[in-house]
Structure formats: C-alpha cells, structure tokens
C-alpha cells in the first residue's frame, strides 16, 4: 500500500516533468514486465515468443499501457524452459518460472510452461508468488481449468486463452458429421500418440464417435518417436476405414502421412497433428501431406478471414518475422498480451487481485473471435461463431496452402478428397 502511494507520488512528479519536457514519451516510465517461460526450441515455444513480441512492439509503438494516469510500456522477458525436451526435469522449467518472477521481476506470466506436466506443476508456484498468468500454448488438457474451477481460491491466478481437448473433440465431431452426410463415410480408425492429452483426445473421440453412429474400427496408441506406422495403416486399409483420425504432437507424424500417401490409402486423414501445422510441413512431406485436415486449436494460426483483425495480424506477423503464423500458440499468445493490456487499463493497476477481476470481465473482439473468460474456470469461452466466442480453426492442406474449412462461418474452402478416393 505504502509503495503504491509512494509510486503515485513519483509518477505525479514525473508527470509534471514530462509536461515540461515534450518528446519524452512512455519510454521514461517503468515498464510492465511480461515473463514468458517457453520451450523456445520447439514450435509451440518459438511461435508463442514471436506472437508475444509482436504484440508488445505494436502496443509500445502506440504509446504503451495506460495504468491509472500514466502510460507504461510492456517489456518481454523470455526464458527457455526446455520443458518439451525429453530428459529435462520439470523442476528445471519451474526454476525458469521462478527466475522470471524473482530475478527478472516479472509482473505477469504469459505463455507457458508448454508441457502439461510442467504447467500443472507451475500452478502451485503461481499461487505461491501470487502472479497472474495467461496460458497461451502447449497445454491442451482439461485438467488445467478444472483445477481452477475446483479450487478457485488457490488457483485463481491461472487463465487459459487457448483451447483444450474437450472443445476440439466437439468440433471434430461436428466436422465429421458434415463429412458423413456429404460422402457416406461410417468407419473410422484412430491413431494417437502415447502422451496424456493425445490418449485422452483419442478416448474422448472414440466415445463420441460411437455415440454419433460411427463404427470405430480400432484405436492404436504409438509411443513418442515411432517411425513406422505401416502395420497400423495396412490394418486400417484392410478393415476399410474411411477416416484416419490422428492425435499426435511428435515430428515423426509426418512419416505417417508419407506412408499414408505412398500406400494410397482410401481413408481421409484428419486430427491434431503438430508437425502438420507449420508451413514447412509441405516441404517436409514432399507434398505427400496434401488433403490432411489439421486442427490449429485457435483461429489465426494460419491466414484466414475470421474477424477483421485476423488478416491484419497475419500480415503484421509475416512482415515482422518473414513467414506466415506457423501454428498453435501464435495467435493466442499475441492476443494474451492485448487482453492483459485491456485488463490492466480497466483495473488501473498491475496489482494481481484487481487484474484478476478485470480479466474475468474482459470482453474484446480479437484475432480469433470474441475473447472472454469463464468466471469460474478462467478458460476462454469457445464458440463456433466468432461473434459469440473464441473460434478454433481447422484447415486442410490443399496445393501447399492451409485452407480454413471449419467452422462453417469462417470457412474459405470445401473439404477435398484425394484423387484415389474418388
């Protein structure tokens, strides 16, 4: 309390100063530090970092954040948590988060940690240091916002602006329903990776599809790092599967697509495939990944026309980093900074309690639809309509481009079948 009084005093003094010194802008103010613990050696880390940096640069160029009566700039402190690398303990990532809080004096945590295990473990740490955090990338497990809902007082510092398995599964079901109507498909073969979110995703999908009248032929779970899927694929071929449903976040999944294409399998591949999100996927599979339908989790992770802001963001990103937004984590990290700015300006302070209240009431039209958080679980509210909530983005690879095919309201193209399936 005393500090804020003193701080305001100083600010007033400074203001008086600034009034007499034209040309000194927001830069003279103490910056608001955003700490970003990210696994920067991985897609979900580096693209999130780029998203955060881009947003911060834009906001600072426009004068910064209005806190009470002063304008303060944002400052990014990124730290490599290495939490997606095998062989690296989660405690290492948590130490990174602590470094941001204790040493870099981060006011807010935006971004990671990226791995579910690390992010769930970091929740206790955020409570310990009373720091507000917005999770923007990586973690897809519903356990995250369930924990907030179950123990609000302890975990109220944690928000998630990106989507999760539950929402994604529902949307896949809707999309599959459309495909079923259009092509008369009814058999599906599931392949998932042996990590928690993928297994859960597969299980959820299996149950939901069975409820919707699909025949789930089989579900295979592959250990991380598998380089041969031929047994499963030929099994799926033999059993006449129409849809190959995937849920994987390992780079080796591009092998699966290569094999699928060289076998000329009569099944349409779709799902959550980390390797297939990036523009580089086309080259990595020598174009064999065409027709794969991928979930990018949040809209705007590939150029699309969801809201007026979407293309603006995609172009700005391209101008700044020299390539299109690459995948999950880009648009959500970018939005998180803007949402934080909104909340701080509403709260008029960077104090945690006030910012939490402001974040709970945030309602802005963002890159991927209307952004608002559920007051109990602090999960961003999803919707199929960008006017109503945050939309995901499902794209299909067509001629080397990622074409948005779902949700219908934002679709740019239709789902195409590979020539050997016609």
């Amino acid at each position: 309390m005393k500090k804020t009084v003193r701080g305001t005093g100083w600010c007033l003094l400074l203001l008086a100063f600034v009034a007499f010194l034209p040309g000194v802008g927001a830069a003279a103010e103490k910056p608001i530090v955003i700490g970003a613990p990210l696994a920067t050696a991985f897609l979900y880390g580096w693209d999130a970092e780029r998203g955060i940096r881009l947003a911060i640069e834009e906001i600072n160029a426009a004068g910064g954040v209005k806190v009470g009566s002063v304008k303060r700039p944002f400052q990014a402190e990124v730290i490599d948590t290495r939490d997606l690398e095998p062989g690296v303990p989660v405690s290492e990532a948590l130490l990174g988060v602590e470094k941001l809080i204790l040493e870099k004096k981060a006011d807010f945590i935006v971004g990671g940690p990226v791995r579910s295990e690390a992010a769930l473990a970091a929740m206790d740490l955020l409570n310990k240091y009373k720091k507000v955090s917005i999770l923007t990338t990586g973690v897809l497990t519903p356990a995250y916002h369930k924990k907030v809902a179950d123990n609000y007082d302890k975990y109220k510092y944690c928000f998630r602006i990106s989507s999760h398995v539950g929402v994604m599964a529902n949307e896949f079901i809707t999309l599959l329903g459309d495909v079923k109507k259009g092509h008369g498909f009814n058999k599906v073969y599931i392949m998932v990776q042996d990590v928690e979110h993928a297994r859960k995703g597969g299980e959820v999908m299996k149950k939901m599809m069975a409820d919707k009248g699909w025949e789930v032929v089989d579900m295979k779970i592959y250990p991380t790092g598998t380089t041969d899927y031929s047994v499963g694929l030929s099994d799926a071929s033999k059993r006449k599967a129409d849809i190959l449903f995937l849920w994987m976040d390992m780079p080796e999944s591009s092998i699966l697509l290569k094999q699928w294409s060289s076998m000329k399998m009569k099944a349409l591949p779709m799902g959550f495939v980390n390797a297939a999100e990036q523009p580089g996927f086309w080259k990595a599979t020598e174009g064999k990944g065409e027709f794969l339908i991928v979930n990018l989790v949040n809209g705007g992770n590939a150029p699309a026309k969801i809201t007026p802001w979407t293309m603006k963001f995609a172009d700005a990103y391209k101008k700044r980093w020299g390539l299109e937004p690459e995948g999950y984590g880009t648009s959500s990290s970018y939005m998180a900074v803007y949402v934080l700015k909104e909340a701080i300006e509403k709260a008029g302070t960077v104090e945690s309690g006030a910012v939490i209240a402001a974040l709970e009431n945030v309602n802005v039209m963002g890159v991927y639809g209307r952004i608002a958080f559920d007051k109990k679980s602090h999960q961003v509210i999803p919707s199929l309509d960008p006017e109503q909530g945050a939309v995901t983005s499902i794209v299909q690879w067509q001629k080397g481009r990622r074409v948005q095919v779902f949700p219908p309201k934002t679709a740019e193209g239709k789902i195409l079948l590979p020539p050997w399936m016609k």
Partner: protein, 288 residues
Amino acid sequence: MDILVYGAINSATLSLMALGFTLVYSISRLPNFAHGALYVTTGYIVWLGVNALGLGYLPAIAVGIAATAVIGGLIYRLFILRIRGMEISEIIATYAVGLAVIEGLRWGGLRGSTFTLPSFLAGTVDVGGIVVDYQRIFVLVLGAAVFAGLNLFVRHTKTGLALKAIAQDERAAMMLGIDSDGKALVSFAVGAGLSAFAAVLILPLGNIVVETGYNVLLYSIAVSIIGGLGSFGGAILASLIIGFAQVLTEVFLSAHYQMVISLLAIIVTLLVRPSGIFGKQKELDDRV
C-alpha cells in the same frame, strides 16, 4: 504374414542401427555412447549437402558418410585415446561428446519437423498382399549386403584380420606387431561410417530430429547387450528378437508397451546371462 514382413524390416532397421556400436565394442572394447549423435549428424550433413550446397543426392550421401567417419576418427584421436582402459571415463566422455553434438545441433537450428531426406525411390510394392514402400526394401537388402560385406572384410582382408586379432587377444596381437591404437582408430572410424550408412538408409523413412540420437543409442545398447556385447551373430539374433517382439506387441497388445518390452528384455538378459546370448566374455569375468 504382415507380421513376418514388418518384423523382418523392423529387425533389419534395428540391426543396422546397432551395427556400428557393436563393431566398435567388439574390436576395441569401447562403448561408444556418441553413436546416436553420429547418426543424427550424418542426416544433418546430408540434408545440408542436398539443400544448402546444392549437391546431388548421391554425392551428398557420400560426403555425409565420409565426414561422419572422419568425425568418429577425430573423436577417438582427440578424446578417447587419452582415457582408454578406464571404462567409466570412456562411457562418460563418449556420452558427453554425443550429448554436446546432439544439443549443439538442436541449438544450431535442427528443430521442428521440416528436415527430411527424400527416399531413393518413391513408390510401393506389393509383397504377398502387403504394401511395402521401396525404401524399406532397400533397408532390408542393403542391410543384408552390409553384413555380408563386413563378414568378408573381417575374414579376408589384412586390416580385417588384424582387427579380429585385437578383438581376440590384444596383447598377443601387439606382440605380433599389430598397432592396437591405430587399429582402434580405424574401428572407430568404420563404426562411425556404419552408423552414417544406417542413417542415410533409414532417415528417408522419417525426418531428421535430434531425439532420434537418443533412441538410436538406446536401441543399439539393447541389441548389443541382448546379443552379447561385440558379437555380430548375436546382434542379428537380438535384432530379430526385439524387432519381432515389437511388432508382435503392436499387433496383439498395444504399441505403447514396445519400449517396456525392449527395456525389460535388456534387464532380464543382463540378470540372467550378463554376457548376452552369444557373448564371448567368460561368465566369471562379469560376475563375482
């Protein structure tokens, strides 16, 4: 039937991966824990050759294998030579070198899933009703060829015989004027070359990611231990065992028990027969 075909291919892949590791150990009793790193390095060099230097695919492969062999020789000459005979230092040093290479590559930009090598020949072939792509056939055929070639080399060339002599009895070989250190260097370079060869054959099936380095090392250790450290026949047999065990697990159980099966196989083998199935060490040496 498909179990047979895929089991065979899987086994060939494993034995190719482990070949370099086994060779080095059989000749110079060096556990080369940098083996996986060399494998990944080759992939990266070939990729650079094709994509950055604009070499053709075949020249790039030749350059890759040669470069890796040289790197292997250098590792021996610079580090291992000074600590030979200290088993634990050998493990730690080679492992540290490997780790440095792997993480260095990651830091240097070998990230994400966009690094791939084209297959030698695109397309698939039908083997008794099972679709197999040509590249896997290549792995099978060339893998067998390499084993045959190695056998000829060891049995019918002077260098090969010298290597075999050292493997059998180092002291006696030295008394007969065989330069043990020089030959160990050769074995290290050849071993590195073999892991490079395995890499160019197997990597087109997938992509080049640094994590492969760890897996290749793990599988090599598994194959070498189950087969008996430093025995070729054992390595082939062990590859068959693990390869088929994995495919069978995948078909009848679930793929995510694959690794558990391999690890259990190693541990059980070590407990029951520490020198492996065909190990040449006397039981007494390894047990108290």
